[in-house]
């Protein structure tokens, strides 16, 4: 896994205080400190970020695109999870 390019890290940026962290890309670095500094230099040169999270790419568990249909299918027939499924009496407000 580890060649002379160092470890692959995934970078998450928080665009503004309070917003969720979003994936922006990856980079190679040899340790956490270097990864953090590289992430700053690579991904926040124009103030895109207010906070950075970095995670080793190998630590990420991802769903498999080929199973996607059957994996997510159980949610498809459950329309009653959406508020528009329900009939409200004529004139009902704030609900």
């Amino acid at each position: 896994m580890e060649d002379n390019q160092g470890i692959l890290w995934e970078v998450f940026l928080q665009p503004k205080a309070g917003r969720p962290f979003k994936h922006v890309g990856s980079l190679h670095a040899y340790d956490k400190t270097m990864a953090m500094e590289s992430a700053r230099d690579l991904y926040t040169r124009r103030g895109e970020g207010n906070g950075i999270w970095i995670v080793k790419a190998e630590d990420i568990v991802a769903s498999q695109p080929e199973d996607e249909a059957s994996f997510f299918e159980p949610a498809n027939d459950k329309v009653y999870r959406h508020p528009t499924f329900y009939t409200m009496p004529e004139g009902a407000k704030n609900i």
Binding site: G18, G51, Y80, Y86, T87, M88
Partner: protein
Amino acid sequence: MAKELEEEDPIKLAAFQAKIDAEIKIEPKDWMPEKYRIGLIRQMSQHAHSEVIGMQPEGNWVSRAPSLRAKKILMAKIQDEGGHGLYLYCATETLGTSRDEILENLHAGKAKYASVFNYPAPTWADMGAIGWLVDGAAIVNQVSLQKTSYGPYSRAMVRICKEESFHQRQGYEIMANMAKGSAAQHKMAQDALDRWWWPSLMMFGPHDSESAHTSQSMKWKIKRETNDSLRQQFIDKTVPQAELIGLKIPDDNLKLDSETGHYSHTDIDWDEFWNVIKGYGPCNKKRLDHHKKAHAEGQWVREAAIAYAKKQELKLKTA
């Protein structure tokens, strides 16, 4: 005991307050006063426990729901509440506590949950009243908490509010249908409203003047609106909804003040409130015992899962 505010570094404390005042969210790795951290753990774990304990009165009706449609809806709602508990437990853990510790505090009676879940749900109309009133009250509170100062709590609230929107509507739909059904159904709906109205108002907690944590929580923007103001919002939007479906709120002193646009009402029976908080409500023991039992019965599942994970890891290493 948490460090007193006077013992905190005054420069850090001032910078922290400045951030809060500027509406900048606090993130898990940021510096924060001990009291902020402890106060959040208390409030967030209490919120998480409420989601989880709140599954019990509704779980009681899954096997007796009057139609397949009703049963599927009820299961979807309960599943959501379990999810809400999980979002909130994880968000609480970012403050440096553990799931085990959080659950221990619940089981030892040190952590509370919303007192409303200590009331029984004897009829199907209770499923309507809980969704309409209990979730309705929770929504008012949670909409306000979307702006709480702690980032992970705020983001969990945004997600939860989105999911809650069907909870209240499914409850109101049940109530509206029963209210226009047979005389017996109408009566059952009215009876459920009579029993759930006051406990729902109590969900917002004691009067501002009696609330131990309110002023510091407001200063740190953990809470964004006071108990009394949230309670008033709930009353103002719920009374017309009751009138529309022909049900009567069990309070003869409800009156719309045309100048303020707010309803005035009878004061809550605070003796009942404190009684239930202290553990003497109709179902306190039952709810907690059930949670302890379910947790103990899950012990072998957790053990098996750990053993399996270890085995998988070994397989990877030797492969």
